[in-house]
Symmetry: C2
Subunit: 407 residues, 2 copies
């Protein structure tokens, strides 16, 4: 697998993408994005588990089942959630105008929104924007970088990644853009991610790969414990690589899945690291749990603890809060077997052995926690299942962002 | 029911209580408390659901089943959690020394600790402290106010309440002290509360009353989503009121239960209002849910949302975050039927009708949220069950307290 640093979603064969400013956000910031596959694509998605689903989520959950969707239209700055009938009409209008501009059937367009809840969309600005954006795509590939910018809300920078694998001697690209920042918490998918690939893969296999990959990546991050009304991950696969179709679990499937996992985990980490107000990326690895469920529950519980997140912000090796959050995780384990270690790029230090604190150099522990990326390693000595979760510290800035601005 | 503002736990007939400084905390702050019933008492308790239970919790869960416990010994400043065999020995020593000093069997003493996790108790200081404190109780009632002080950690003030009811023409007092502040979240009991009463009541009925009362009070508050390793609520009933024994669900039971509910809910609110860094008490009332479970899940989810708590800190009527947290609560409801109203002591304003925002005066909404106590009223229009939860806003100060100090 190669990581292609200078490529983005519009560099995947037969895809175009563009981001523009249509007038939802102030300061001329980009707020509208079109992703278009010139060839009919296989598409699957995973969606927020929140019972309150935004209008675009409802529309996209329906359209994803149509044959070969070819476009995604996304606006940022307004979530089109809790907007009633008008919201559904507006989401349908977004699909319809995109379809007309790209000469597609409306059900071949997927819709996504992110931003403030409960405010009607400025639909006429969005309609004009969609027409302009599609027009820009007529004679050009567009610009995947601008697309990554146009889906941001409180993100501090755009998030994108592209990898290449070879299947049947054909280069297969998998490229994605994502946004995160607030309202980030396990349970699908708690953010937006749009993935394009030229792989030739059946809908069943693509669905299996995405579902499993999302469970180990986006569903293992937490910024603030809030699951949004709008989250979705979509993948389009337009088969233009002309590899033999991947339609069963075989070596080619695993090669594709491994690359997809890499893409999603890297984006998940970028999202965690760029959580609202975050100063550090925290990686919690749980080893040797009795079941995979126990491993995941333990890792997620630790990464979600406000008390631990505050301690990491203050570079305090407060392992009691780790033991405590393991204890209320709902995961099975024996507290008397737990070992806890922290490490960064330079040093490793054990804090707990068999559930009891060991004496350690507090200054060294503080040094470790002062780095931008911190690993917490928990060995349950109770089985053979592992899981990793990612999150960020809880800072003054988080409170400021969410207390003083509507996002 | 009368509220006795100037009475405390040592004013309940045949109880004594005292708080002293034994040397765990710095600055001569009180850190050791003894509560003693001169008569054998019926005792029941509820305990943390955390899988990692502190040594005193394990000892007390055992001793509570002995016949007629008569004393509680509590230290603050050190949780005696994750302290291995030494921790269990120390907790047993606390019971043993208290028992010897008060001429009781060791299993008649209940033990409780709160404070930092993972540090061995300074047991010789505590032993001397227990002896001094019991000595002070020999010829005096002690001082319930000092007891309330001695169980505090990051609490900004002691929490206590006393009420009186009449059963069989006998005055029955119910009095309690509690501490809270951090690591406060539903699932028993997420704090410490010690209740004394002179009522004559069977163990079965006392257990039923306490369990139900805790579910509607301490288990409905959240400060930070963290459930501690040490939480417990204990009640002693020494029968000295000589009312006819309450041993079934009858009018006298309901009278007792109503008073106990009042005591526990008032303490729960005091704990929520005094949450670490809190500037406001938030009360979330959910009406007309399909089941009691749905009502409780919805109320708890809203009160636990970091995003909502940050918005309330900033006096921002961000009702989208309320809809969102209802949506991921796990409770059943129809998003299209939800009404949301906020109110304070002076004004009421509706924000949402049938799941969609209504236009409202943003300045008035800001004024309402700027008060020290804010009610969020959610009508699900979906059934007939109600629930109320209490919490506090999320402030810079919370992050500061937990990022820079070990508590």
């Amino acid at each position: 697998m190669k990581i292609l640093k200078n490529k983005t979603i519009s560099d995947v064969p037969y895809y175009k993408a563009i981001g523009i400013h249509c007038g939802i956000k102030k300061n001329e910031k980009k707020d509208l994005c079109i992703i278009y596959s010139e060839k009919p694509a296989v598409a699957v998605g995973t969606f927020t588990q929140n019972k309150v689903k935004a209008a675009p989520v409802l529309i996209t959950m329906k359209n994803i089942n149509s044959i070969n969707p070819q476009a995604i239209v996304i606006n940022s700055g307004n979530a089109n959630a809790c907007t009633g009938k008008k919201g559904l009409e507006d989401a349908l209008t977004m699909a319809k105008v995109t379809a007309e501009s790209l000469d597609l059937l409306p059900e071949k367009v997927l819709v996504s929104s992110t931003g403030i809840i409960g405010v009607p969309l400025p639909i006429s600005k969005i309609v004009s924007g969609i027409e302009s954006a599609c027009n820009l795509l007529t004679n050009s590939k567009g610009d995947g970088y601008s697309a990554a910018e146009a889906i941001m809300t409180t993100d501090s920078h755009p998030k994108k990644i592209t990898v290449e694998i070879i299947i049947d001697n054909k280069p297969i690209l998998i490229s994605a853009i994502a946004k995160g920042s607030g309202m980030i918490h396990p349970n699908m998918a708690t953010m937006l991610s749009f993935i394009t690939t030229n792989a030739n893969i059946s809908k069943n296999m693509l669905s299996k790969a995405l579902r499993e990959s999302v469970d180990d990546s986006y569903n293992m991050i937490s910024v603030d414990g809030d699951t949004s009304t709008n989250d979705m991950v979509l993948i389009l696969a337009n088969a233009s690589a002309e590899n033999q179709i991947i339609d069963k679990v075989d070596d080619n499937y695993f090669k594709f899945k491994e690359a997809l996992d890499y893409v999603n985990k890297e984006l998940a980490k970028m999202i965690a690291q760029d959580g609202e107000g975050a100063t550090k990326l925290i990686e919690v690895s749980v080893y040797n749990a009795r079941t995979l469920k126990d491993a995941k529950l333990c890792a997620k519980s630790v990464i979600s603890s406000n008390l631990l997140k505050s301690a990491i912000f203050g570079s305090d090796a407060n392992w009691g809060r780790i033991m405590c959050s393991l204890g209320y995780s709902g995961g099975n384990f024996n507290p008397e077997k737990v070992d806890i270690t922290i490490k960064n790029s330079k040093n490793t230090i054990q804090l707990v052995e068999n559930g009891v604190g060991v004496s350690f150099n507090e200054n060294l522990a503080k040094n470790i926690l002062e780095e931008k990326s911190v690993n917490i390693i928990i060995d349950l000595h109770d089985g053979e299942y592992d899981a990793t979760a990612w999150g960020c510290d809880l800072s003054y800035e988080y409170v400021k962002i969410n207390g003083c601005y509507r996002t």
